[in-house]
């Protein structure tokens, strides 16, 4: 009995040691090797943008590809700039109250430590924003989407982030003080992005004809599943930077974090396959890759604080949740083109709870689980209403949704006056489109 207690205390101590090693501001980004590692990871996270672009572009119909890719490019650029100007200060500025950072707005970033830290965190902010673009694909206007991105990266994401990660300079977030664990952002990045996506698709409504009057669901196949597969490979690749870089130090915790990431992703695919098999469905590629993403999202919170078997369990259930969550959304007639809500929000919630359940050396501690649940509920309570209100306001002022004519023509032409595949998209060409002088592009609205 004594031996067991000793073992338990030692395990708990080890867990706390891991946490303190990864979370304390004093021990992170303190050596040149840390800078190199975190900068490298920032570059890896950057490749996730390419992954999102391919995944979402391939999941959309050919007539909307340019628009989806464009949104991915621009939300990254706008998101990084908005985060630099406002979001970084709100999230990481001196956090005396636990609710908001109050300085470091428009940071100069003149020293390497700050610059590398900003670089890494800006990638996270852009990731949270870009989650929305997949969900709203094929029917959301471009400019209102960009405005939504600014709101997410400069307000919704950083405010919640300050509650969890707001101790880099001075002070601490209130959730962090409670002991909330979200190592790399199952909730901070993914669930926040997912809830914003949910708000957006509620305001937008489904694509034309997605649901029949009799309640039937009409499949709208993506135009290129090869891109989808490749996109998820890139996302997975970038995830090593996402989770590995969140140590903010090149230290001995990296190995387990990266291994857990790998195992959970693999288990996620298995979970989705299992769910499809049990439901007697065909083995869809789209569901399988979303299962992998679900597994990766699920391990993001607890990758530093759980052992490999629990990482596999987290990932496996993440894959199942991603597959089932998609069905749940359809039942509520919510049209999410890439199942972003299911993958990022639902699996993010599960991953955050799993981080509390499977904390190494302190398994199934009710207090820890309650704290995790508080964090999850707080994320929803903050992000969803604010995003819903924001998108409704944007809708009221500028109009969120393209009109039916533009939806029929495709957003590539109506928003950008380009086609992704001109060789075979002849049916989508417009009146006079072929004769447009290159120097005088005509606005799409004039030909509506």
């Amino acid at each position: 009995m004594l031996q067991q207690r000793t073992k338990h205390v030692l395990s708990l101590g080890l867990g706390l040691l891991i946490l303190s090693d990864t979370a304390s501001a004093d021990t992170v980004l303190s050596r040149p090797v840390d800078y190199v590692w975190v900068a490298l990871c920032a570059a890896l996270v950057f490749t996730m943008q390419a992954g999102f672009a391919l995944l979402e572009g391939g999941s959309a119909r050919a007539k909307n590809t340019i628009n989806v890719i464009m949104k991915n490019y621009v939300d990254f650029c706008v998101g990084v700039l908005a985060f630099w100007a406002v979001g970084f200060g709100l999230m990481f500025g001196s956090n005396y109250t636990g609710w908001l950072g109050l300085d470091h707005f428009v940071p100069e970033l003149s020293n390497t430590r700050n610059a590398v830290f900003f670089l890494f965190q800006s990638m996270f902010a852009a990731t949270a924003a870009t989650i929305v673009s997949g969900a709203v694909a094929e029917r959301m206007r471009f400019t209102p989407y960009v405005i939504g991105t600014v709101i997410i990266t400069s307000l919704i994401y950083p405010v919640y982030g300050s509650w969890v990660w707001g101790s880099f300079y001075t002070g601490s977030g209130w959730l962090q003080t409670l002991g909330f664990i979200d190592f790399a952002g199952s909730t901070v990045v993914h669930a926040i992005g997912g809830w914003c996506a949910l708000a957006a698709i509620i305001v937008l409504g489904p694509r034309l004809g997605r649901f029949g009057r009799d309640g039937s669901v009409r499949p709208i196949a993506g135009h290129n599943l090869t891109l989808v597969g490749l996109g998820v490979f890139l996302l997975w690749f970038g995830w090593f930077g996402f989770n590995g870089g969140s140590t903010l130090a090149a230290n001995e915790t990296l190995g387990p974090i990266l291994a857990n990431t790998q195992l959970a992703g693999a288990a996620g695919v298995m979970g989705a396959l299992l769910a499809m098999r049990l439901a007697r469905q065909p083995l869809y590629l789209t569901t399988a890759v979303n299962g992998g993403l679900g597994g990766l999202v699920a391990i993001t919170a607890g990758c530093a604080t759980m052992t490999a078997p629990f990482a596999i369990l987290s990932g496996l259930l993440g894959g199942v949740i991603a597959a089932l969550g998609s069905r749940l959304l359809l039942r509520f007639r919510l049209d999410d083109v890439v199942d972003a809500v299911s993958v990022h929000a639902f699996c993010g919630v599960w991953g955050t709870v799993a981080a509390g359940l499977f904390f190494t050396g302190d398994l199934f501690n009710p207090e820890r689980i309650i704290v995790q649940l508080i964090g999850v509920v707080a994320a929803f309570a903050w992000s969803f209403p604010v995003a819903l209100l924001s998108f409704k306001l944007i809708d009221r002022i500028w109009g969120l949704r393209v009109n039916a004519i533009h939806e029929r023509r495709g957003l590539d032409i109506s928003e950008h006056y380009e086609t992704g595949y001109p060789e075979f998209q002849t049916d989508l060409s417009n009146r006079g489109f072929e004769n447009l002088p290159e120097s005088q592009p005509q606005r799409a609205t004039t030909i509506a």
Binding site: R61, K63, R207, L208, G209, R210, G212, R213, R218, P219, I220, A221, A404, I405, R408, R409, T426, D427, L428, S429, N430, R431, G432
Partner: protein, 223 residues
């Protein structure tokens, strides 16, 4: 022909050739309650409501619609007076119409191309099955009604849908052509799903592109 105050008795007599007396009486009662004096494009709704009361196959529904449309093409008062009115053909009905119809060749190129495009779409959507087609027809009627298009325009197009003939495009104003194409697309989306809608529209464009008239007015200009 804006409004058709077709009496229930006419409906009863018209439908007797397709239904037994009891069902025709039910139809008459429904008509008298909800549809007497209503516009022609509520016929689809009427048939749908009727099908909720009595068992009708999809084929029967189409036949009823055709019979009622044919009946509407004649003077309602005359129809009421003549018991065996439904025997009139669509061609005869058009001859009886209140405005002069030019031959198809005399249609303006844009209307001619529109007519061919719509005809092709209707042919293709029929192949998706009777249930989808009826749903499509109903949606088309609703959308045109919501867009407040003139009754003649709506009737001409719906008649083309139901009678498996060329849609009557003579009464369509040019400024409504793009709107109508969009209404067709939305109805296709909602009835058959967006993927099929895209395919059918693209196919229709492709087919019409092959016709000689496409040299005068390219079908893509309608998109």
């Amino acid at each position: 022909m804006d409004s058709h105050a077709m009496p229930g008795e006419t409906v009863y007599k018209t439908l007797l050739s397709h239904l037994d007396e009891q069902d025709a009486a039910i139809a008459q009662a429904i008509w008298n309650t909800n549809y007497a004096g209503s516009r022609a494009h509520s016929l689809v709704t009427f048939v749908k409501e009727l099908s909720n009361r009595i068992t009708l196959s999809n084929d029967s529904k189409q036949k009823l619609l055709i019979a009622l449309y044919k009946c509407l093409q004649t003077n309602p008062a005359q129809t009421a007076a003549v018991p065996a009115a439904p025997a009139q053909t669509a061609t005869q009905a058009r001859k009886n119409s209140s405005f002069i119809h030019p031959e198809p060749a005399l249609l303006a190129p844009d209307l001619l191309i529109f007519s061919k495009l719509v005809e092709q779409i209707i042919t293709d959507i029929r192949q998706q099955g009777a249930a989808v087609f009826i749903n499509f027809t109903q949606l088309l009627q609703e959308k045109m009604h919501m867009a407040k298009l003139p009754a003649q325009t709506c009737e001409g197009i719906l008649l083309g849908c139901i009678e498996k003939e060329k849609p009557d495009c003579r009464a369509i104003a040019r400024q409504h052509l793009h709107l109508l194409v969009n209404i067709f697309y939305i109805a296709l989306c909602e009835a058959a799903g967006p993927t099929i809608a895209d395919t059918l529209l693209a196919n229709a464009i492709h087919v019409v592109e092959q016709t000689p008239e496409a040299r005068l007015y390219h079908p893509r200009q309608l998109l």
